[in-house]
Amino acid sequence: MKHRYLPMTETDKKEMLETIGVNSIDELFSDIPERVKFKGEYNIKPKKTETALMKELTQLAQKNADLRSHTSFLGAGVYDHYMPVIVDHVLSRSEFYTAYTPYQPEISQGELQAIFEFQSMICELTGMDVANSSMYDGGTALAEAAMLSAGQTRRKKVLISSAVHPEAKEVVKTYAKGQYIEVIEIPHKDGITDAAVLKDMINDEIAAVIVQYPNFFGRIEPLKELEEIIHAQKSLFVVSSNPLSLGALTPPGKLGADIVAGDAQPFGIPTAFGGPHCGYFAVTNKLMRKVPGRLVGQTVDEEGRRGFVLTLQAREQHIRRDKATSNICSNQALNALAASVAMTALGKNGVKEMAISNIQKAHYAKAAFKAKGFEIAFEGPTFNEFVVKLNAPVKEVNKKLLEKEIIGGYDLGRDYSDLKNHMLIAVTELRTKEEIDTFVNEMGDYHA
């Protein structure tokens, strides 16, 4: 058969078979026992030409209500943000996206340096000493933090705030089961981790306490207060954080966090129906040699020229094999590159301006809901999300909104039985005053 991805001609094939010393390609498969041989071809859809496939998949994509044709107020861990156009131009450089892990540093300096810069930027935002080259996503990064903590403290219990992203919480629990670690939830009070209950729950058997900042309800957790309680028991303080918020908020590293993990999706990475995004993982110097995944370090060549290599690989699965504490191999390198380009484009000033714009616009929306007679659950300072109480099921309200090409907020009743009819609303810098006003209007009489 002829195919644009398969360059061998009949003449090539003939010459090659001759060199090998066989008469047919089939002979090369003679080592597959008859009993397991698959005969014929797969029963799958026939191939399509480039044009026909583009047409079919264009139509399939158009069946979805996307965030470009609709106005979205949905967040809950994945956000519709300003993506500098330049990000995709850099990502489209195929020297980056068609390469693999930079095992040969002499011809991978581009990737290695880009990741070194990513690590540096994550350290700057989180206020931590060391960041790795990326994890799959925020949820699995948090799970790795729990496992690192258990290994480091030799303790087998982890406390996690109920105000942590519910899906991340579930992922932590799945990983914990593998490692025989017990995960116990700390309740929230008025949308904030209940410090008084935490004080009662914590003891010297607790490896780590995991909280989210800003938390799942958009609230800003009092990290300082929590830190004292946690470190009094020598437990590790793990903070899951939206890195964009850290353009405006005091970084967890300044507030005593031992591990900061999360997802860099807000920086230049499309929502993409939930993935691929880009987990990040940052720690204090003390934990440097316990970090999962790849690390890029600076060094010199024989002539003293600065260069970058994968380093501290003794920690990693391919060296430690069954002694490894994490099995991550491939990560999200290309998305770390996207996040780097976006963080670079925003820079020192833009990241702050964008974070504050989120706070201002979300606050404006919150005030508008209040003015309309809606009740805001969990009153208090928020980043770019807040919770509104409705008088009808959120799913129903969202169906109505969809008719107006609005994607409404998240149904908290899915995860919290006491929060039925509560909508978590996200307002990012992309939403205009007009869009916010329209949204509040369309929400009409759904106030409780």
Binding site: Y5, L74, I86, E95, F96, A99, E106, S134, A272
Partner: protein, 486 residues
């Protein structure tokens, strides 16, 4: 600074420059101190670069010029399947209807995305010969761990808590033992015989009532098909264990032998390898897992189901191992893999494997005079050479790899698998032309000659890369892992 030094983005930063255009602040602003509690408003700005848009583009273009990808040149990195990454995949993944979907939208508004996922699952079920597939794992290692968690849940559901051991051949990928450990198992190594295949006697010796599973790559990392696979399956199943297929090498057997027909109970695939992900400089990947019917109840949540003509996500899975990842996997990579499969069709996928195997055998035969060939038989999609003859001349496999850089190639995988001395593992893939294979073989043959006649040129390689061999000891001893403003 040396003239060839590439500045860090931080080093070209200048206060006052910007590279962004944020949307208007069109709502009335309130004093930020009123909105953020005292002590939680950042005082020192993060030291991110201040650069113009052109600065950014020049910087990253310069970096890309210091990087080798499949589009730059031949990349025969064994077990990594560095094939051409079709451009249509990139276009399709960027359609707004795929790229800009929120995972928590109402299911009615994402039917197109769910349909694609469902159809991809159906295709992967047929390709692997399994009964069900989950697309959730983000990469190969994540898939391995997911599958092993299911094995554990399966045994525990049978009240079988003593199956604590996972058997792994000595030629396995390093992720296999690491994944088994993270899933809470102890690992036992199974030896390979002289012929490079799993030693059945050793397997019989280690298998038992405590065996949870055997993890196997077939063809194995030496590029050899495990001919005794059915006997192995029988031994493991008779002992009550499960058989796990590491799909890293699936490019070797598409349309020739399916894991499900070989007796495997679970399989993970690397969509960034066989199905043109792409590799992205080390990710993102995608590592779907396929299982036989008796393991379906343990699949991670949610499971995608079809009700009439509607697609739904089923969360009511009481025996599920739980969530392994937020949302539904690396959807963007799955879109690319689906596009690829639909571009190839059944005859295309068959041809892929045939040419991948033809190319590997051709190269093996062209190189067998110049290098030691530890296993002289037909290989599958990849083969291993040993550089021990060259080592006697003072030229190590590492030197050979570095010398290849001078010819513009990415070197093969080296020093892996661990059971071959001075190992060189070559995987050409099906998308390379005969001219490319010949030119690479010529270079390898020339290097073998150089090792005899002029070893210094190999030992001191590379000679024309942007940087020489780097001091890795220094990097590990005095780690500098970030830029810090002086």
């Amino acid at each position: 600074m040396h003239k060839d030094d590439q500045a860090l983005i931080f080093e070209i930063s200048k206060p006052g420059r910007i590279g962004y255009s944020l949307p208007e602040m069109d709502v009335p602003e309130i004093d930020i101190n009123e909105l953020i509690p005292a002590g939680y408003l950042r005082e020192e700005a993060p030291e991110l670069p201040e650069v113009s848009e052109l600065d950014i583009m020049r910087h990253y273009t310069a970096l890309s010029n210091r990087n080798h990808g499949v589009d730059s040149g031949f990349y025969p990195l064994g077990s990594c399947t560095m094939k051409y990454n079709p451009k249509i995949n990139e276009n399709v993944a960027r359609f707004p209807g795929f790229a800009h979907l929120h995972p928590l939208q109402d299911e009615s508004s994402v039917q197109g995305a769910l349909e694609l996922m469902y159809d991809l699952q159906e295709h992967l079920i047929e390709i692997t010969g399994m009964d069900q597939v989950t697309l959730q794992p983000a990469a190969g290692a994540h898939g391995e761990w997911t599958a092993l968690m299911m094995v554990r849940a399966f045994h525990e559901a049978n009240g079988d808590y003593n199956r604590t051991k996972v058997l792994i051949p000595d030629s396995a990928h390093g992720t296999n033992p690491a994944s088994a450990t993270v899933a809470g198992f102890e690992t036992i190594t199974v030896k390979s015989g002289e012929n490079g295949l799993v030693d059945l006697d050793d397997l019989r010796r280690v298998v038992g009532e405590d065996t949870a599973a055997l993890m196997l790559t077939n063809p194995n990392t030496l590029g050899l098909f495990e001919e005794d696979i059915l006997e192995m399956a029988e031994i493991v199943h008779a002992a009550g264990g499960k058989l796990y297929y590491d799909g890293a090498n699936l490019n070797a057997v598409m349309s020739k032998a399916r894991p499900g027909d070989m007796g495997f109970d679970l399989v993970h695939l690397n969509l960034h390898k066989t199905f043109t992900g792409p590799h992205g400089g080390g990710g993102p990947g995608s590592g779907p897992v396929g299982v036989k019917a008796d393991l379906i109840p343990f699949l991670p949540k949610p499971v995608l189901v079809k009700q009439g003509d509607q697609y739904e996500l089923d969360y009511d899975r009481p025996q599920s191992i739980g969530r392994v990842k937020p949302y539904y996997g690396n959807f963007g990579i799955n879109v690319r893999a689906y596009t690829y499969i639909r571009t190839m069709g059944p005859d295309g996928l068959k041809a892929v494997t045939e040419y991948a195997v033809l190319n590997a055998n051709y190269m093996m035969r062209r190189l067998q005079e110049s290098y030691d060939l530890p296993f002289d038989r037909h290989c599958k999609h990849e083969f291993v050479l040993s550089g021990k003859r060259q080592k006697k001349l003072g030229v190590r496999t590492l030197d050979i790899a570095k010398r290849l850089l001078d010819f513009g190639y990415h070197p093969p995988t080296i020093y892996f698998p661990l059971n071959v001395e001075e190992c060189i593992m070559i995987e050409p893939t099906e998308t390379e032309s005969k001219e490319t294979l010949d030119a690479f073989c010529d270079a390898m043959i020339q290097i073998a000659k150089e090792a005899e006649e002029n070893p210094e040129i190999v030992q001191e390689a590379p000679h024309n890369t942007v940087i020489g061999r780097l001091d890795e000891t220094l990097a590990a001893r005095k780690p500098v892992l970030r830029y810090q403003k002086q």
